[in-house]
């Protein structure tokens, strides 16, 4: 747009100037400026095409201008060759000769003119590009802040779990009247679990053994609440117990088993927790019987949080899959055994 307006202006100024000169015809200034515009447009299109590759250097303006200005000699040569051959060609076509100063003068004169011209347009391109990049950066910053905020919120919600806490307390209050020893054990388990979740923070790593112990505490409390509705089996390869994994990664998976598998039905539910080595990966499975995924199901806060943490620690090398298996649902975490960096 700007480009078109600029060249129309150039042509009209040039025509005005030569209007009073009876020796020049009306089309001559149009041809001069038109030929210049044509060659220059070619170069502009090239410059616009490669601007993505140069966007890298936008925050270092000298380098950015340098990478474009490298091409200045080529631009000058092709421009003079292009524009002047068009003019000579058209003049020859109408049977006249295109008169201009000596080639030496033309070279110097056009070089200076083109340098100023290219500088001007590069300045404009730089302005447009860096504004665009600034906007994109703002956008990305905003998205990152939003993602961070939602991760923190998820973490908070995950830690508080008021529903779990109040129900556990109610179970203690019920057991107190019938079985003091059991109530006592339940309070101790609840205390241990709270201690662990207060102590652990997002980025922290813990051993598989410690993480499984957390699951055991959680399951013990839930089994008091739901009593004989739950049967739990463990299939853990003891050789893997010292492997480091992100703290509190697995608890949301077991929470889901209770929330979607146990609390939805009064039927007996089998829960299986397994850990084994497969293909140089640590495979952890938390599965339950008797409930299927709801059609069109999507990740809740817990699963999203797990995925985010796996990605932060392992990049794309780790995975979490939730799928139907037999008559139930299984959540599978796969973590690379060699190192924790992606």
């Amino acid at each position: 747009m700007l480009w078109v307006v600029f060249w129309l202006l150039m042509i009209s100024v040039s025509s005005q100037e030569n209007f009073r000169n009876p020796l020049t015809r009306w089309w001559e200034p149009v041809l001069w400026e038109g030929s210049s515009a044509l060659v220059a447009t070619g170069w502009l299109l090239l410059a616009v095409r490669i601007r993505k590759r140069h966007a890298l250097y936008l925050d270092r303006p000298l380098v950015w201008f340098g990478t474009y200005l490298r091409w200045l000699p080529v631009i000058i040569i092709t421009w003079i060759a292009g524009a002047y051959s068009i003019r000579h060609g058209v003049y020859a076509f109408v049977g006249r000769a295109y008169e201009h100063p000596s080639w030496g003068f033309v070279a110097v004169y056009e070089s200076v003119k083109l340098t100023i011209f290219v500088g001007l347009w590069l300045g404009i391109l730089f302005g447009i590009d860096s504004h665009g990049q600034w906007q994109r950066q703002q956008q990305r910053l905003l998205e990152m802040q939003r993602a961070l905020a939602s991760a923190q919120l998820a973490h908070l919600q995950g830690q508080l779990r008021p529903h779990f806490l109040f129900n556990a307390l109610n179970t203690v209050s019920a057991l107190m009247h019938t079985d003091v020893a059991r109530a006592d054990r339940l309070v101790a388990a609840l205390g241990d679990l709270l201690r662990i979740s207060l102590r652990s923070s997002e980025g922290e790593m813990t051993s598989l053994a410690q993480e499984l112990r957390t699951l055991e505490l959680y399951a013990d409390i839930m089994r008091e609440r739901f009593r004989d509705r739950v049967a739990l089996t463990w299939q853990v390869d003891p050789a893997l117990l010292d492997i480091p994994i992100p703290a509190l990664l697995l608890q949301p998976l077991l929470e889901n088993v209770f929330k979607h598998g146990v609390e939805r039905t009064v039927a007996r539910v089998r829960i299986n927790i397994g850990a084994r080595c497969e293909d140089r990966n640590l495979e952890i499975v938390v599965s339950n019987s008797g409930s299927l995924l709801t059609p069109g199901h999507h990740d809740g806060v817990g699963l999203r949080n797990c995925r985010d943490r796996l990605r932060i620690v392992y990049g794309n090398a780790a995975s979490l899959i939730v799928h139907e298996e037999g008559d139930g649902v299984a959540a599978r975490v796969s973590i690379p055994l060699a190192g924790t960096t992606p």
Binding site: P162, F166, N167, N170, S173, R225, F226, V266
Partner: protein, 246 residues
């Protein structure tokens, strides 16, 4: 004697409530349920004076159970919940009895005292039912008796309803259920969106209407998609035309 039904899916919580109710000199536990469906069944069969309903239960929540009860014969309802901000706010607004887990014997005694007072002044579970119906998509499903048991059917599958004394015949494409409810109470649960009265004793599912045929003196017949023909009485005519866009 105040007869009570207790529903909670967690055994320790249920047993605690059972024991504490039984300890009251003027109260007796007549039934316990571990999910919402059997809770509704217990209430239907045993007609207790009061029901303690846990809010979070499998199959039907305590609120959903309340939503499905018939207004005029419902017991007093005490909701029991561990944590449900929104429900508790609704309970507070309507000054209805609820117990927050964990509760102690003092708190329980206060609730029981309030139950006695309300029974004395012949209050019913109307407020609880209203909360249940407003909080839940109770209009989407209907609890119907199926032989000795209760089952939930989609209200979209109901074609028309027919009042018959204290009962309502619920007609679906497959079969007809007989409910001990009034048509008005049933319509207030199912909502105006899908069903509409066309006669003092008949209401139809609007999406099941195929066409209307006019008779003499401004009377109309309503033809359902299943071929059945029902009478449209003049009293409900204008309202139906407005809904059918005529």
């Amino acid at each position: 004697m105040i007869r009570a039904v207790i529903a909670d899916d967690e055994a320790p919580a249920r047993e605690k409530l059972e024991r504490w109710v039984a300890e009251q000199p003027d109260m007796k536990v007549v039934g316990s349920a571990e999910d919402g469906l059997s809770a509704a069944q217990c209430i239907e069969r045993l007609r207790p004076e009061v029901a303690f309903l846990d809010v979070q239960m499998p199959a039907l929540s305590g609120l959903q159970v309340a939503a499905q009860l018939e207004l005029s014969r419902a017991p007093l309802i005490v909701f029991v919940t561990a944590y449900d901000e929104h429900a508790v706010k609704a309970f507070d607004l309507n000054a209805i009895d609820y117990l927050l887990k964990p509760y102690d014997s003092d708190r329980f005694a206060r609730t029981v005292q309030r139950v006695r007072e309300r029974l004395h002044s012949h209050e019913s579970g109307a407020k609880a039912i209203a909360i249940g119906r407003s909080r839940d998509v109770s209009c989407e499903r209907l609890l119907v008796p199926d032989h000795e048991r209760l089952q939930l059917i989609d209200s979209a599958s109901i074609e028309w309803l027919e009042a018959d004394g204290n009962y309502v015949h619920v007609h679906t494409a497959v079969r007809t259920y007989l409910l001990r409810r009034t048509l008005q109470d049933l319509l207030s649960q199912l909502g105006e969106l899908r069903f509409m009265r066309i006669h003092r004793s008949i209401a139809v599912n609007l999406s099941c209407i195929a066409s209307l045929t006019s008779l003499f003196k401004g009377d109309y017949e309503v033809h359902l998609r299943n071929g059945r023909i029902l009478r449209l009485s003049r009293r409900y005519r204008e309202a139906l035309f407005a809904r059918m866009g005529r």
